[in-house]
């Protein structure tokens, strides 16, 4: 076990844990935007930053989702320096995604009323570039159908060559994980659309009840991956 202090509280954490995990386990709230328990830590949004003080008195700001616990470390999750830095991050995010509820809520919590920029710089972009969709597609699903493209202000999540995500299996993981719900999936009749990646899938029809239950491409992918006998997915989960 590792002994450290978070916000003045003595905490015992397991070796290899991150500061964020240790804090959350003890009910200490650190805001995050790009963190997800199912994914590897990424450190893109940086709102989880905390101030750490080493035993020798040196201190610095680190992202708590990436920094492992250390013996004798003293951590502050809401010191003046942390709050000031976090506020700037949120102001910038608010300027980019002024219409998104997650950002607005976080801003309100930190006391940011509106971004300190001229109105022509305020955008209503729906994507906060947390890359959770990209990482879920790569780490959890394992197809890497989408990725981050371009740099700087034109950075975006996109299918290869900004065309069609040919590797997509239509599982909807990106749709589910998106904290701003900016990826749209729609089932119309026997077709599933994911508009952001300009893909469409034919849905499999159940042999017994006739309901459409999953994209054919996804069932083929799972059949191949799990070595299932052909015809395993002829019926839906209710009829099987």
């Amino acid at each position: 076990m590792v002994n450290l202090t978070i916000d003045g509280r003595q905490i015992k954490a397991r070796e290899g844990m991150t500061l964020l995990q240790a804090a959350r386990e003890h009910g200490i709230d650190i805001p995050t935007l790009c963190h997800n328990d199912a994914l590897e830590p990424y450190g893109a949004c940086r709102v989880c930053l905390v101030e750490i003080t080493y035993k020798n008195g040196r201190n610095r700001l680190v992202t708590s989702c990436l920094y492992p616990v250390e013996e004798g470390l003293s951590v502050s999750t809401n010191s003046e320096r942390v709050t000031a830095n976090r506020k700037i991050l949120v102001e910038l995010l608010l300027a980019r995604c002024s219409g998104e509820k997650v950002i607005q809520d976080l801003a309100r919590k930190l006391g940011v009323e509106s971004p300190p920029f001229r109105p022509e710089y305020i955008e209503r972009n729906a994507c906060i570039l947390c890359a959770q969709c990209v990482r879920a597609c790569q780490e959890v699903v394992g197809v890497s159908a989408i990725s981050l493209a371009n740099r700087g202000v034109s950075r975006e999540v996109a299918p290869p060559f900004l065309e069609t995500a040919t590797a997509c299996i239509g599982c909807g993981s990106c749709v589910y994980i998106c904290p701003t719900q900016c990826i749209k999936m729609e089932d119309v009749g026997d077709t599933r659309f994911i508009h952001n990646w300009s893909v469409e899938f034919k849905l499999k029809k159940c042999k017994v009840c006739g309901n459409h239950f999953a994209p054919e491409a996804q069932l083929e992918y799972i059949t191949a991956k799990a070595n299932l006998p052909p015809g395993f997915f002829d019926t839906c989960t209710t009829c099987r």
Partner: protein, 308 residues
Amino acid sequence: MENFAIYVPRLLPQEENLAPGHRACIGCGEVLAVRLVCKALGRRVIVSNATGCMEIVSSPYPTTSWRVPWMHTLFENTAATASGMEAGLKALNRKGKKAITAKVVAMAGDGGTSDIGLQALSGALERGHNFLFVCYDNEAYMNTGIQRSSATPFGASTTTSPAGKLSIGQTSRKKDLTAIVVAHRIPYVATACPSYPFDLINKVEKAAAIQGPAYLQVLSPCPTGWRHPSDLAVRMGRLAVETGVFPLYEVENGKYKLNLDLPKLRPVMDYLKPQGRFRHLPAEEVERIQEQVTADYEELKKKAGVGA
């Protein structure tokens, strides 16, 4: 409702707020629902739990499965206790003792909601307390040995409405509790089922975020009481929804919305057949149930303004 499959469940929170090792029956649909509800609520909650299956299986002295603040109350006063908790939190915050941001959640079975706890629930809803009431509807008093409640559906055989030569089981129809709750004009009412986990989690999150009373009716298949094989609990929930017996819908500020509108309903026989409690039903009674279900579903569709 989006149809998520295989990979999306891996993206759910890993944290379990209802510890395993409780004493629920094999294949219990209710404990599955409780687990998902607790997952969706997170740790900033205070639970007021009525007597019933969930209280018994989760807290045999001196152990407990609850990893969140939890209180056992009587059948009749769950909603009243929750109101008190909410008022207490308000008072503490007003006096500036400590800023506590916790959602108060009341949980009860169908007996604790539609029979014994109804007047306390009605009172709490009417007073507009900021709390969420979750009813785990397994359609009888399962914990004490399958006695009928007002949520038991027509034709079901229970120990106090047994089927025999002169009886076809429960003679009255299931009380439409969601309609009673909707009549209180509260901000959010919904029905859910653990067989549709994402829908359930979505609804819990939505309900917990609302300021004011919210109500969730969760159908919880019960292998012991419904007398179906214990591996079919999830399928029974799906069948209940797909046959139209228990449609999934939500009512936001009085506006109905169907969450799963199937092109065609299954025949109710698909749902009744695997269950021992309906085994005695003759064909004409099944026909009657089918007519009632179809009529109710059409009425619901009209309310939701679908396919009129």
